[in-house]
């Protein structure tokens, strides 16, 4: 199609798209990275074939969407317009689904979502506990659109915000609207977005840049990946609006190279936007021009830090620099630059279309809007959840998350990635917003929420995070480079049973020095996991040091794998699977593990059907 030359042409065009049959039969299959790993491709193939077989290829659409957030059950198949929800069906189930649900409009009972807490199977997504308490506004359109089609995005109202901005609002209007909404940066620091835009707009200089930070390095966080794979245009639209408000004509999206699908879908989206006339010279005939370039990361966590990110775009190693001057004044190649996180940009079109008033009514007094958390770890319903700010941890873990698997007890919730802290189960009723998390010693961060149970060793968790950061530290400043190394050595020796009580005091001292004097927030927030675990889980540290025991049964030098001679039936499954040949026993007799050969890999624990393997 030819480029759209004016806002009027755009509106005419979008109307033709929305005019289509809103109730057309559609088979929606979610297919982002997780879905693909669990066989979405085969499902899509099977669905298309089956529809062909019934000669319904023109009456029934197959829509391949991005992720629907319920990772534990991806790929998800939804039959529209009845909205019948099928979690992770197999290709063999397709004929039944097509026949019963697509053609006759009835659910196939045995394939529906079943929850042990509910009496009967659930037909509709909205009744599933995982989705019930969520407020999906950023993720709202995920199932409506094929992320590789800009037409789908326009059909559901995409780029309306942009046309509103270009036709009715000045840059100052836009900034004031964003300020009014109370939107805070979703990358982790939570700085008021409107104010940041204002600084950048007011900074002297004619060349300005906007950057989207898609370097989502926090382990356990993948909501940015999901947004980019499922609705890339929402981010692009946000960036165009932001660039207009600030006065920038070039934008960069810095995506980590570990997200190949996101890069692919963004590339397609940008190209399509150019083709339609929504990016490039004179957008929709207006005097505003803007282009976006994708820059791939090269495997460095520190490049998520804004100044390191900019150094990387400039072709250098990702080392942060001193601030002030902040990027808003002096950023990319010395020019005023506005960097925002993926989720922040995606919020912008919503705020413009629905208004700052609407937005500021969601959330708490100081934390407005919704937040996307990646609920992972020891939790039944792993997935991406979008909730209003202020929801409690209890609701997140139990109502939405479905509680802890295998009947274990909740021990802690880790928020904010390696910059955050571990919140103990005793604070389960804490409302989730920027301030209360900070008071508890953690941070909101990019929204990673890792649930830990009684078999998670908190000292090991602290060591894990310090180890991660020690490897990712750029090495420029001594407090971070040396401090992390020393903290790791101390934590490692505690986990190996060689710790002393003096170590704890030294850890704390190191932590405070790093907090005060690191050049950037990698080193500045690195002590958080250590400080929070010391604060809330000191008894575990003491157990490791004084008793040389790991109560959670994790730290290998302090535990032993044993077979309960009473529970063991002698089936020999463990012996067969042991990679070290460490298990012996006569036929049908209980097995024993040779402690010298055992590497504590956990395979025997995994395969034993009788719970006979214990960790002591």
């Amino acid at each position: 199609m030819a480029k759209l030359q004016s806002i009027k042409e755009f509106h005419t065009f979008s109307e033709t798209l929305t005019k289509g049959d809103a109730h057309k039969k559609t088979v929606i299959i979610s297919s982002a990275t997780c879905g693909l790993a669990f066989g979405a491709r085969n499902l899509i193939e099977a669905a298309k074939k089956e529809i062909e077989k019934h000669n319904l290829s023109r009456e029934v659409d197959v829509r391949v969407t991005g992720c629907l957030g319920f990772c534990e059950r991806e790929p998800i198949l939804i039959v529209y317009p009845q909205n019948i929800f099928y979690p992770r069906p197999k290709p063999e189930d397709i004929p039944a689904i097509i026949a019963e649900s697509v053609i006759n409009g009835n659910p196939v009972e045995h394939l529906l979502y079943e929850d042990p807490a509910l009496e009967k199977a659930v037909v509709h997504e909205s009744d599933i506990p995982f989705y019930k308490k969520q407020m999906r506004i950023l993720f709202k359109n995920n199932k409506e659109i094929d992320p590789t089609s800009i037409y789908d995005y326009i059909r559901v109202g995409g780029y309306q915000a942009l046309t509103k901005v270009l036709s009715e609002m000045t840059p100052e209007n836009v900034i004031s609207e964003i300020k009014k909404s109370g939107l805070r940066g979703r990358g982790g620091a939570g700085f008021p977005t409107g104010r940041k835009w204002e600084f950048c707009r007011n900074a002297p200089g004619t060349i300005k840049y906007v950057i989207c930070n898609a370097d989502e390095g926090d382990p356990g966080a993948f909501m940015d990946r999901s947004l980019l794979e499922s609705n890339p245009h929402s981010v692009i639209e946000g960036m165009i609006i932001g660039a207009y408000a600030i006065g920038a004509h070039k934008g960069y999206i810095y995506v980590r190279e570990e997200y190949p699908l996101a890069v692919e879908r963004l590339t397609i989206a940008i190209e399509q936007a150019h083709n339609v006339g929504l990016l490039g010279e004179s957008i929709l005939g207006s005097p505003f021009s803007f282009t976006i370039e994708i820059v791939k990361g090269a495997g460095a966590f520190v490049c998520g830090e804004e100044t390191a990110l900019m150094a990387s775009i400039e072709g250098f190693v990702g080392e942060p620099r001193q601030r002030p001057p902040y990027p808003a004044e002096k950023g990319l190649w010395g020019n005023p630059t506005n960097i925002n996180n993926v989720k922040t940009w995606a919020n912008v079109p919503l705020i413009i279309t629905k208004g700052a008033d609407w937005y500021s009514h969601i959330g708490t007094g100081t934390s407005k809007g919704t937040m996307i958390f990646s609920l992972v770890g020891k939790i039944n319903n792993t997935g991406l959840v979008e909730v209003p700010m202020g929801i409690t941890l209890r609701e997140l873990v139990y109502d939405i998350g479905g509680g802890i698997p295998k009947g274990k007890t909740l021990k802690a919730i880790q928020t904010g990635g390696p910059s955050g802290g571990c919140i103990p189960a005793s604070l389960i009723d804490l409302p989730v917003d920027y301030e209360s998390l900070a008071e508890a010693g953690s941070i909101m961060g990019s929204g990673g929420m890792i649930v830990m149970d009684e078999n998670t060793c908190m000292v090991d968790v602290a060591r894990y995070f310090v180890n991660f950061l020690k490897d990712e530290s750029c090495g420029k400043c001594a407090p971070c480079r040396e401090g992390l190394y020393q903290m790791y050595e101390i934590l490692d020796s505690i986990c190996n049973g060689n710790g002393t009580e003096e170590d704890l005091a030294l850890l704390e001292e190191l932590a405070y020095v790093m907090k005060d004097s690191s050049l950037c927030m990698l080193g500045g927030t690195a002590p958080n996991p250590v400080l929070t675990t010391l604060r809330y889980f000191k008894d575990e540290y003491i157990a490791h040091i004084k008793d040389k025991k790991c109560p959670a049964g994790v730290c290998k030098p302090l535990i032993e794998y044993r077979i309960d001679q009473d529970a063991c039936t002698g089936c020999g499954l463990c012996e067969k699977n042991c990679p070290q040949d460490a298990i012996t026993g006569a036929k049908k007799e209980p097995r024993t593990i040779d402690g010298d050969k055992c590497i504590k890999c956990g395979v025997c624990l995994d395969v034993c059907k009788f719970d006979a393997v214990e960790v002591v």
Binding site: T33, C34, L36, A37, F38, C71, E72, E74, E216, G217, D218, P219, G220, A221, F222, R225, E257, E258, Y259, P260, V295, K296, A298, G299, A300, F301, S312, I313, E314, G315, F316, V317, G318, W333, S374, V376, G377, T382, G383, Q414, G417, G448, I450, M452, T456, V461, F465, F468, D471, E472, C474, N577, P579, I599, K600, C601, G602, V603, D606, V607
Partner: protein
Amino acid sequence: MRIGVYVCECGINIGATVDVEKVAEYAKSLPRVKVSRYYKYMCSDPGQELIKKDIKELGLDKVVVASCSPRMHEPTFRAVVEDCGLNPYCFEMANIREQCSWVHTDKEKATKKAMKIVAGAVARAALLEPLQKKEVPVTPQALVIGGGIAGIQAALEIGNMGYKTYLVERTPSIGGRMAQLDKTFPTLDCSACILTPKMVDVARHPNVELLTYSEVVNVDGYVGNFKVKVKKKPRYIDLEKCTGCADCIEQCPVQYQPQVVEVPSIKRKMDDKDIQNLDTILRKYQGKKGGLIPIMQEINALYNYLPEDALKYISEQLDVLLGTVYHVATFYKSFALTPRGKHIIRVCMGTACHVRGSDKVLDIIEGELGIQPGETTEDFMFTLETVNCLGCCALGPVVVVDKEYHPTTPSGVKALIEQYKTQEVIHHG
């Protein structure tokens, strides 16, 4: 059991610091002690007679002498005891001279210590058993572990004495660190000039057998009769020289067939085709600010690693210092500076995966393939890497092989590796 205790005064050597009378008196109270005496010089003839008389008349079966170091007079007293018909190993010596009177000044404390030493000797004597001396044949060979200068010299000396010597060296060549040095200190000799003649000598020595590229894996046996297991590491095909004639496969007596696998050259020299590829990449980013990293990403993708010559070439073309290029290449984790295998296995070490046991999965993969993260298997089939969070936490623990994402478990990962292994064995002929 009847133990006799004899405490020696040794003139002033012991007597000046230890009250030997008290010690002898004390020894009387020890269990199984039948007689306890003290004398000026136990090693003298009259002293020896004392012992002999007591053995005959009192029927002693164990003797303890508290005097000087056994290194001095143990043989003396063993002979005394043997002369009386007792087994010479039923004798125990307590050193209250070198270990007591000669190193202390406080008489009271030294006497007390001497008493303790004697008590210990008496207790040990009670446990002594008669021993028979016998002769054992000794294998007149030696094995030297380590083929550095020390090992080479040792092998030469033993070999020159006429004994067969094995010299085991872990690396493919003997010489060790000295071969890497320029000069020795303080003589300031040329290191290689001293070393290499010895290397030649040991290599041609009729008594010395060199076992290079081999490792000692087990030592059994005892002094004079060791049984040592040496592992000779497998020899490989030099890819630079291999012409693909396949004669080796025919001749190889072992069942293991060399696999015909497409293997990246170790040190890839840039030929004309490569220069063309590099130029195409450079042209794409010409004039672009910050192009260094994307250029390197494309080269990394093309060759599966960053060849040294490629980096040198782009350093010249872009007019960027080679040091800067290497600074960037070594900073970012996704760049590899050594050739990688056909299949790249990336294990996610993100927090969610960690909590779900990714370290256990990594352990098992390390065990299966025999490599650590960052390394490549010797047949260039697999490279193992860790990744800090792929963002697929619901699949955790996640392992990505090439572009395929695999949710795994400790019990399932072995089968996964097998799957990739068996896909690749191409039988020749």
